[in-house]
């Protein structure tokens, strides 16, 4: 009958640089740990991932010399995998998994709100062109338009700041837009995104 080397001895050997000791430890506890993980996550691939992450932690801890639970190797590894299983479920709770089907693809209804690099460049160019066109407006109209669009001021605030009535401010804004369109049409400028 072959004598089985104790886990604690294998751990010491591994810490001393015997890589073979790790292989024996992994093979010895492979089935127990894998089955334990699978019994919780019920997914073969996730089980493999958690098994891998568990032993990466084990390897790092042992190599760093931080392991201090001699004789309790398996419970310690099981505790690591247990924590990683909890992490997995927490992560999935925060980010619910959605699996599409042949009939419905989630990416057909959701998109990235952010502009891609090309669209951002176009937007910047339009903004820049618009500022040049606004400079062509009469002073009073330009003033109201800048306050309303770029400073996000209400017409009440604009009237207080410019010393004119709200109706006058509204009228100036209206003419500013009409004149901007005229300038755009006259110069055949195309502003699109």
């Amino acid at each position: 009958m072959e004598l089985q080397i104790d886990d604690s001895v294998l751990v010491k050997d591994y810490i001393s640089g015997d890589e073979k000791a790790l292989e024996i430890l992994i093979q010895r506890h492979n089935q127990r740990i894998t089955s334990f993980i699978y019994s919780k996550v019920l997914d073969r691939d996730i089980t493999e991932d958690i098994f891998q992450d568990t032993f990466i932690k084990v390897i790092k801890t042992l190599k760093r010399g931080s392991y201090s639970e001699e004789g309790k190797f398996l419970p310690w590894v099981m505790r690591i995998s247990h924590n990683l299983i909890i992490d997995h479920f927490r992560r999935n709770k925060r980010m619910p998994k959605f699996e599409g089907s042949d009939d419905f693809n989630i990416f057909s209804v959701i998109g990235d709100d952010k502009l891609n690099a090309e669209k951002q460049i176009i937007k910047n160019q339009i903004d820049s062109d618009l500022r040049i066109l606004i400079e062509e407006l009469p002073d009073d109209q330009r003033e109201v338009l800048l306050m309303r669009i770029y400073r996000d001021m209400s017409f009440k605030e604009i009237s207080e700041n410019t010393g004119v009535s709200i109706n006058t401010a509204l009228g100036r804004m209206r003419y500013a837009l009409i004149n901007l369109r005229k300038i755009i049409d006259k110069n055949n400028i195309v502003l699109t995104n």
Partner: protein
């Protein structure tokens, strides 16, 4: 969370991790090294 650990899953079965995963871990173990400098551990992976 307690449900996960209190519920008995019928699908409990014995299984082992694939040999290539074990091989990866053994290779990782050989590649990873720690250097201690002033109580700080620096990890390096050599391929």
């Amino acid at each position: 969370m307690e449900k996960i650990y209190s519920e008995e899953h019928n699908a409990y079965q014995l299984m082992t991790t694939r040999p290539e995963k074990v091989r990866f871990l053994l290779d990782f173990s050989k590649a990873v090294h720690f250097v201690v400098y002033k109580d700080m551990h620096f990890e390096s992976i050599m391929n």
